[in-house]
Amino acid sequence: MRKEFQAERLKMKRKHTFLLFAACYGLAAAWMLYAVTDLDFGRFNDFAALAAFNLLMIASIFSPVLIAAYASRLADVEQYGNCYKWIACLQTPASIWNAKALSGLSHILLYTLAQTLLLAAVCGYFREPSLSLYVQVFLDLLLTCAALFFLQLWLSICSKSQLVPLFVSIAGTFGGIFSWLLAFPLRYLIPWGYYSALCGISMYYDQETRYAYYAIQPFPWAWAAVLALAAAALYLFCRRAFLRQISD
């Protein structure tokens, strides 16, 4: 597997994936800092919950398109130069797929960790840290991003034009943003809506006082399990599509 990983890293050379992730992370960090630096902290009952809520909303705006662009690059390097059959003659197709999937997942994992650390840094710097909340946010981001990654990779492998999966992700992003306003069960119906669906924080806006109250709720483990199963199913779809490219 080491050889396949090494090859996978080389394949992505000059694809500027690091810049993609860095740009999205930079934007998310700037937005987070802008949102909290000028706050009257006395008005908020739970600053950590507010920060986590903010981070997940920002993630639902930037992450889907970032993931789509990354998945598209992963698929496109092979599609553009007709590489499937060539590389399948050098190693077993399954091991090449595994390296690609693991390489993609490791990027998602690192990005999710970096976002969680951003939340921890903001909470720790401005107010109180909350380890259980960080774990919740980490799980929300990781599961949603992983499911979206395999969905987008599947679309990218199956589509001749990489514009199709990109447009799907843009439409999905809008769906994901609006899902923050949707009640049960609508927000559970689209994968892009799971940033809000797994967000274990409730917000109540009091129109009279014009105060927003945040409260941390139990993590929706059942829905997290549903999403994990969906991610596993998408992984299998994706694997089959990749292997089919080789045998067709």
Binding site: E4, L10, V77, L90
Partner: protein, 304 residues
């Protein structure tokens, strides 16, 4: 004779449509084997099965003495280089980096890269991105890729596709030199007879998924000889008369009686005897059957 590739009754169908049917292929070791057939005859499917990219429905494949299955596939592919369909390349990587991918995945030393770049004469372009290469350069890069690790067997599927005449000539020279210089066996597929004719020692002709001819190319050339064509009023009766009286082997075709080429004395004797027999001779002429005509008639007789 020692064979580098041997298949037994190889068959493959796609969605109920037979692509390859009971194909028994014999590729002699150290030779260039031309795998010839019209588009859609089953050449690429056969090549894919030989590389383990497609699983046969039935039959067996033996490559370099090992039976191809999921366990032996990688060890066979370590000794095999291939170019399947269009040339493959990572457009964002340089020529050198593309070859490095193969070295990494095959576990070969990076020193191999400069050796194969030298063979295909691409040292000067190695640092250019493959996406910016011309089609000819991409083909050469693909050949260089196939040559990495000095494989004992090379499978090349339509390697001259899309090349200009100079590129075709260069590619042909390179392929022809491989068995002699490096002891490789080359299996070369093409839908162009002229390509195979100029490069191969052996030829296998496939049509509608079935092998319709397999032998030395020289044997096929031998059948592409001159003939005599005799047009008479009653071809069937006259052919029978020539067979009985002169022990010739006439063949009745649409255009008349076809006879093996004969010297002047025999032709004069034949005409005299036919005249005495009362045959009405309209015309007698020489006919040259080209290799291409034989190939086309074979393919046509097989229904493609």
């Amino acid at each position: 004779m020692k064979y580098a590739i041997q298949t037994e009754q190889l068959s493959k169908s796609y969605r109920g449509k037979r692509a390859v049917s009971q194909l028994s292929l014999k590729v002699p070791a150290g030779k260039i084997y031309g795998f010839l057939g019209p588009n859609g005859a089953g050449k690429s499917t056969t090549m894919k099965m030989l590389l383990g990219l497609a699983r046969p429905d039935s039959g067996s494949i033996t490559i370099l003495g090992e039976t191809l299955d999921s366990r032996s596939r990688l060890s066979i592919l370590e000794k095999t280089g291939s170019l399947i369909e269009a040339p493959s390349y990572y457009a964002n990587l340089t020529g050198y980096e593309n070859l490095k991918i193969t070295c990494i995945l095959k576990g070969l030393p990076l020193g191999e890269i400069s050796r194969v770049l030298g063979i295909v004469r691409m040292e000067a372009q190695k640092d250019k991105k493959a996406g910016q290469y011309s089609l000819g350069m991409k083909q050469r890069l693909a050949i260089a890729n196939a040559l990495l690790g000095s494989p004992r067997l090379l499978l090349l599927d339509e390697p001259t596709n899309g090349l200009d005449p100079a590129g075709i000539h260069e590619m042909r020279d390179l392929i022809r030199s491989l068995p002699e210089k490096y002891g490789m066996t080359v299996m070369l597929s093409s839908h162009l007879l002229s390509e195979i004719e100029q490069a191969a020692d052996y030829v296998g002709i496939i049509s509608a998924g079935r092998m319709i001819y397999q032998n030395r190319l020289s044997a096929l050339r031998a059948s592409a000889a001159r003939h005599l064509l005799l047009q008479t009023a009653q071809p069937a009766a006259d052919a029978r008369f020539l067979r009985e009286s002169l022990q010739l082997e006439p063949e009745i075709t649409e255009s008349g009686i076809r006879l093996p080429f004969a010297e002047n004395d025999l032709v004069a004797e034949m005409v005299r005897r036919l005249a005495e027999h009362g045959s009405c001779i309209y015309r007698i002429r020489e006919e040259e059957v080209k290799l291409e005509d034989i190939y086309l008639s074979m393919v046509k007789n097989n229904g493609l």
